[in-house]
């Protein structure tokens, strides 16, 4: 039926194809979710899938703005032209992949798809593996000082060649994990998912033809690039726009570290992101080896907004003409600098990109906190355990909506209290929103979380990662900065101890109470402009305290109701504001 001439994909077929690829992706994700074994993947859902064109360019990604060029590192070792049906490629090598993978726990499985001998695309399954060896259980730890302490590194490897599995490579990998059973189960789930994706993309190619598929994927890329470019033009005037944000520390006594971004729009509408003035790399593991594709992905995602017909793909990255990084900096560390805790730097980078949009007058959210993770390892009843608990934070207020309360990140869920207590030797005493952590504003920043554990294990060692304690997420347009997080052991007792928020090796014993408070998101707009009724609701709901309502919002409450007179009096004396707020109002953050 197909003629030999290359066929274009029309608008209708494009939509059908996009739907079919999304469906295949959903099917791959469901398979991982149902069959993976580590709680990290199945409950917390730290996994993603994507579809690439025949050249390995990501054509249909996920709504997570942290992906770089996934296929390139494989091609360097295994030229695409030499690949065949039934092949599967695997890696977790951060430096070799220029940050396409940005810490070694993330395993990438990539397979080419063929139709009648012609390569028509690639599919990817990706997941964070709970333990891959290294210095400490869980492999990521604030204590590391080089990447070799962060577990086994898998260089780009041909795991399956024409259907034949390199079992030796897998066995070496499993042997390097403290939890080989989980490693085995998760690998199997990822491999099955990619196999499924290969079958599905193959069916799609057969149904529409390789040319139509190829044209469709390039149209999806072009469409996304054009949309993002349009938004860049609308947002950024010709000239250079600058924004600086900070992380507190690297856990080794160094910091703060500044991320300095400059976005230039040239007269001929080229967009150049320059991060070369960012501080030097850190001795501790907060370096974020940023793939040059990442800033475009993040800006693109923010511009594409909630439109479900838009596809997040490499078109986002292509909308930036150039990304300049400086080797030896926090965003481009030299091998073998440690990377395990890069999540906090990555989240701060996303906030800094929001800041760039904000200084240009665009509609970006205020800053969010970096999601918090704790790792508790030890033994209970003679059995070792590893509990990696991701804890939600507050996200920044938007120009037209409050920030999101108590979320971790896209697609990643919490461990329910009942699940946690069935699975691990802990008991939760308290799990609630962290009152007053959301920055005040016409639109309130999201609240962080309080999660308080009683340790039931005989002994345990705690790693914790909280950023934004010294430098909380900024507010914008008159909104206040968010409240910070903190970690305390045995709060309110004589044995109370405040821990370093980015630290490992904290010894806990049975009966100790560990209290984690996470930070919120910055506010947006003048707090005095927030309707008093909303402030009252926040107070009754436990998001804002009565004192903060009066102090920050100028809303006075009496008997669970707004005291209109006192509020009017208070609000008559309206504090002046500036563009940003962190500690105090300022027009330029540094």
């Amino acid at each position: 039926m197909d003629s030999l001439a290359p066929r274009r994909c029309d608008a209708v077929t494009l939509e059908i194809l996009r739907g079919a690829i999304r469906a295949a992706q959903a099917e791959m994700e469901a398979l991982i979710e149902r069959t993976a074994m580590s709680a990290f993947i199945r409950e917390k859902k730290d996994f993603y899938t994507a579809v690439f064109d025949a050249d390995g360019v990501m054509a249909v990604g996920s709504n997570v703005p942290v992906f770089g060029d996934i296929a390139g590192p494989v091609f360097k070792h295994f030229p695409a032209a030499e690949m065949g049906p039934g092949d599967l490629y695997w890696y977790s090598d951060c430096y070799e992949s220029r940050g396409a993978v940005s810490h070694s726990n993330d395993q990438v499985f990539l397979a080419p798809v063929f139709l009648e001998g012609r390569r028509v695309g690639f599919v990817m399954g990706w997941a964070h593996f709970a333990d891959i060896g290294g210095l400490r259980p869980g492999s990521i730890s604030p204590d590391t000082t080089d990447i070799f302490q962060e577990g086994i590194i898998i260089p780009p490897t041909r795991l399956i060649r024409a259907g034949e599995v390199n079992t030796a490579a897998l066995e070496i990998f499993y042997r390097n994990s403290r939890y080989p059973r989980l490693s085995r189960g998760d690998t199997r789930a990822l491999m099955a998912s990619v196999e499924l994706g290969v079958a599905r993309l193959g069916e799609i190619a057969a149904r529409f033809g390789a040319d139509v598929l190829s044209d469709a994927l390039s149209q999806l890329l072009a469409r996304t690039e054009a949309t993002v470019r349009e938004h860049l033009k609308k947002t950024f005037a010709v000239g250079t726009h600058r924004f600086t944000d900070r992380i507190d520390s690297d856990g080794h006594g160094n910091g703060p570290f500044r991320i300095r971004l400059a976005l230039t729009r040239t007269e001929d509408d080229r967009f150049i992101l320059d991060a070369t003035e960012t501080d030097d790399q850190s001795p501790g593991p907060v370096n974020f080896l940023m793939n040059p594709d990442v800033p475009g992905m993040a800006l693109g995602l923010s511009f594409l907004g909630g439109d479900p017909t838009q596809v997040v793909n490499a078109g986002c990255s292509r909308a930036l003409d150039e990304v300049r990084l400086r080797e030896g900096s926090l965003l481009q560390p030299r091998f073998p600098a440690p990377l395990g805790m890069r999540g906090l730097t990555m989240m701060r980078l996303l906030a800094a990109l929001n800041g760039l949009v904000a200084v240009a007058g665009g509609k970006a959210p205020a800053a969010h906190s970096a999601y918090v993770i704790i790792l508790l390892r030890g033994s209970a009843g003679g059995k070792n355990f590893l509990m990696s608990d991701g804890i939600g934070v507050g996200y920044g207020a938007r120009p037209d909506a409050d920030g999101i309360d108590a979320v971790y990140f896209v697609a990643q869920e919490n461990y329910p209290v009942e699940f946690l207590e069935l699975e691990y030797p802990v008991r939760l005493r308290h799990y609630a929103l962290n009152r007053d952590s959301g920055g005040a504003g016409r639109f309130r920043g999201g609240c962080g979380v309080v999660r308080e554990y009683e340790v039931m294990a005989d002994e345990a060692m705690l790693a914790v990662r909280i950023d934004g304690v010294q430098n909380p997420p900024w507010g914008a347009d008159g909104g206040l900065a968010a409240g910070p997080g903190r970690v305390t052991v045995n709060p309110g007792t004589a044995r109370e101890q405040v821990l370093n928020p980015l630290s490992d090796g904290n010894r806990l014993k049975r009966g100790d109470v560990l209290r984690i408070e996470t930070g919120g998101g910055g506010g947006r707009g003048h707090p005095y402009d927030r309707p008093a009724a909303l402030v009252l609701q926040d107070v009754l709901g436990g998001m804002v305290g009565a004192e903060a309502a009066a102090r920050d919002y100028g809303v006075v409450l009496r008997d669970d109701a707004v005291d209109a007179e006192a509020t009017a009096a208070r609000r008559a004396d309206r504090p002046a504001t500036l563009a940003f707020h962190r500690g105090s109002y300022t027009n330029v953050l540094d």
């Binding site: 608008a11 149902r34 859902k45 709504n63 499924l196 909506a401």
Partner: protein, 687 residues
């Protein structure tokens, strides 16, 4: 009151209340004879139309009210209240320290959402209406902190002070030890007798506090309205001296008595599409097709379900609007594609169809009620799939308005011809539905080509053959009344209930413990059978086991085979079929035991169609098919008899739906009343 004395009470009445019309079917279970009636719905008090309709159908049939043995009804009261967020003002009582269980939820931004624009949906109970009681039960069910009476009294006082109409109670680990939860519920019921109270374990005794809290809340929230509604229906029936039990449709595809529904109205929240599925199964069985895929296409959505050997699978992954509701429901996939789905061109130049819908008003442009946007139905009209006169001439379609809507909203912006735009809209809608069919078939290890397709709903039979062609399905079965299949489903439904228990030692459960647990569930089932007055001969139970590999998050339901090794091998086989692999070395865990109880109800669909005298077209209509315009023969379905055959292109019209039979398809009327469409075996094998 009259009891079951001399009179045979063989009449069954099924009442389906739609937005516009209430449809009533009366069936004589002894003879299979059936009558239908239609009356305008009365949204202010639906029980009015309910009763009017029952009287109307009795008159039509010339039967007396005291001959009625069962009144069957499906209600969307609970569903609509939840979707519209208009349930009773509700409070939640939770364990001290956990008042934000709803606000936090699962702490995620959904995978499909954009983190920059996503807004967390407002919870069905605001945080100011969540009250804590001091108590704590450990994961193993032991009591760590006894229930503090003072805190309980304070919570009750707080509920009273804010004037709630309903209270849900969900305490940590209550699914293991419900004592505290039961005590709190009892105290609430005593102190606030007029208020609907639901304890989480009464609705959903399973692990995960957020989902269980939601189930309890949604149940409590709809309880007052559903209770009032059911009460009114019962009062109306009593007024007419109809002593027959009122049975209501559940999300699991079975029915239950009014008393059970009043206690747990949330079990009806996903029942809307279930009745149609049960009806389709009965109709397909009567025509000799046990393996079917049903596609129920309404105005705004399509529900797709697969049945192998007539078996309806259940799932506990259902959602109502934004909220997970893990009660057993018919395993189906719902997508936002229906006759009213809007077609639009996005700023980036993509043609999108749905999920937005033109709704009942203004509806598609062709309805002439002021709709100006292009819908799927308008695309059908433009291509000639729908003759301009519908409902037996009672409704005229505005072809020009349909063409204009398509021209403005799709053809011009895309630079396509009107015909190409119309075909494109249908292709996208069909493709979305094919995707959903793949989810229920290919993704679950079935080949759709081994199944017959049963399209129903007002718009289903227009899409049946096109979907079959895309899926490689060769047989399409169009029910006799595809637009009102719910009534058939109600008549064909059995009493159904599930009883579940989670095991504490999933890794190595002792056989005695398993048997004891099943025995406990069987005792619960026995009590339920007694309450529903199911005779011994009609009772059936089935032991199911939910297993997983140690460490996995999702379980698979397999039949309990008497011991662990045999059951585990059934599990491994299903894991292979579903996911492409099994793990022979991994430990298998038995997480939950489930007992499925069925009370068989008499009364099967036994419609027999009189012998036909050869299909005679009543006219013809020009249809634009992909290969060019052709004259399609028009058939009036009421004139077709058993054995009548005709070839496509053809259009079969009837009051409640229109069937499109493209070239290459043959139609034949089956004696059961179903229209069977088969693809001609010659040529055209690809696509």
């Amino acid at each position: 009151m009259s009891s079951t004395e001399t009179l045979p009470r063989d009449l069954l009445v099924a009442v389906d209340i739609g937005g516009t019309f209430t449809d009533i079917t009366l069936q004589d279970a002894a003879t299979g004879e059936a009558w239908t009636a239609k009356t305008p719905s009365t949204p202010a008090d639906p029980s009015q139309a309910f009763l009017t309709g029952v009287k109307l159908v009795l008159d039509t049939a010339g039967r007396a009210a005291d001959g009625i043995g069962r009144v069957l009804h499906g209600t969307t009261v609970a569903t609509n209240l939840i979707l519209e967020g208009k349930g009773a003002t509700t409070a939640l009582i939770t364990t001290a320290g956990f008042r934000h269980v709803l606000e936090i939820g699962r702490q995620d931004i959904p995978r499909s959402a954009n983190l920059y624009s996503w807004i967390k949906p407002a919870r069905p109970v605001p945080p100011a209406h969540v009250f804590e009681v001091a108590e704590r039960i450990a994961a193993d069910g032991s009591v760590l902190v006894a229930l503090d009476e003072d805190s309980l009294q304070r919570a009750i006082a707080a509920c009273r002070a804010i004037g709630v109409q309903a209270v849900a109670v969900c305490l940590l680990h209550a699914f293991t030890n419900p004592a505290h939860e039961q005590r709190v519920a009892a105290a609430l019921r005593a102190a606030l007798p007029d208020i609907a109270v639901t304890a989480s374990t009464e609705v959903l005794p399973v692990v995960r506090e957020y989902e269980r809290s939601l189930a309890a809340i949604l149940n409590a929230q709809v309880m007052p309205a559903v209770s009032t509604y059911v009460g009114r229906l019962e009062a109306r029936l009593a007024e007419e001296k109809i002593a027959a039990p009122l049975l209501l449709m559940k999300s699991n595809g079975g029915v239950a008595g009014a008393a059970a529904i009043r206690r747990a109205p949330a079990v009806t929240a996903l029942s809307g599409p279930a009745a149609g599925v049960v009806g389709a199964r009965a109709i397909a069985a009567a025509a000799g097709f046990p393996d079917i895929i049903t596609v129920d296409i309404g105005g705004t959505s399509a529900d797709i379900c697969l049945m192998k050997s007539g078996e309806i699978s259940l799932t506990q992954k259902g959602k109502v609007g934004d909220w997970p509701l893990p009660l057993p429901m018919v395993d189906m996939v719902t997508i936002g594609a229906g006759g009213g789905s809007l077609a639009r061109v996005t700023p980036a130049g993509a043609l999108a169809v749905g999920p937005q819908s033109a709704g009942a008003t203004p509806g598609p442009a062709c309805y002439g009620r002021g709709g100006r946007q292009a819908t799927v139905t308008d695309a059908h009209v433009v291509l000639g799939h729908l003759p301009p006169s519908l409902l037996g001439g009672r409704m005229q379609l505005d072809v020009a308005a349909a063409a204009q809507a398509l021209e403005e909203n799709a053809a011009t912006p895309l630079g396509l011809s009107l015909e190409a735009a119309a075909r494109g809209i249908l292709a996208i809608a069909d493709s979305n539905m094919v995707g959903a069919v793949r989810v229920v078939s290919v993704e679950r290890g079935h080949d759709p080509r081994d199944f017959a397709l049963v399209p129903f709903g007002g718009a289903g039979p227009l899409h049946g053959c096109a979907l079959a062609d895309l899926l490689g399905i060769r047989t399409v079965l169009v029910p006799s009344s595809p637009g009102v299949l719910c009534a058939q489903g109600l008549l064909a439904a059995d009493l159904k209930a599930e009883f579940s228990r989670s095991l504490h030692n999933a890794a190595a459960p002792a056989l005695e413990a398993i048997d004891a647990a099943y025995a406990g569930l069987e005792a619960e089932a026995l009590a339920w059978f007694a309450e529903e007055e199911v005779p011994d001969a009609a009772r059936a139970t089935r032991r199911m086991a939910l297993l997983r590999y140690a460490g996995q998050g999702g379980e698979l339901a397999v039949a309990w085979a008497g011991d662990m090794p045999a059951t585990a091998s059934g599990f491994a086989a299903q894991h292979r079929a579903l996911y492409g692999f099994d793990l022979p070395d991994a430990a298998v865990e038995l997480v939950t035991l489930r007992l499925e109880a069925t009370g068989a109800l008499a009364g099967r669909i036994t419609t027999t169609l009189p012998e036909g005298k050869g299909a005679q077209p009543v006219g013809q209509h020009a249809v634009r098919f992909p290969d060019g315009e052709q004259q399609a023969a028009l058939y009036d379905r009421t004139t077709l008899g058993a054995g009548d055959r005709f070839a496509g292109p053809a259009i079969v019209t009837q009051l409640d739906a229109t069937t499109l039979v493209p070239p290459g398809w043959m139609g034949e009327m089956h004696g059961s009343g179903a229209l069977i469409l088969r693809r001609k075996p010659t040529g055209g094998e690809d696509r």
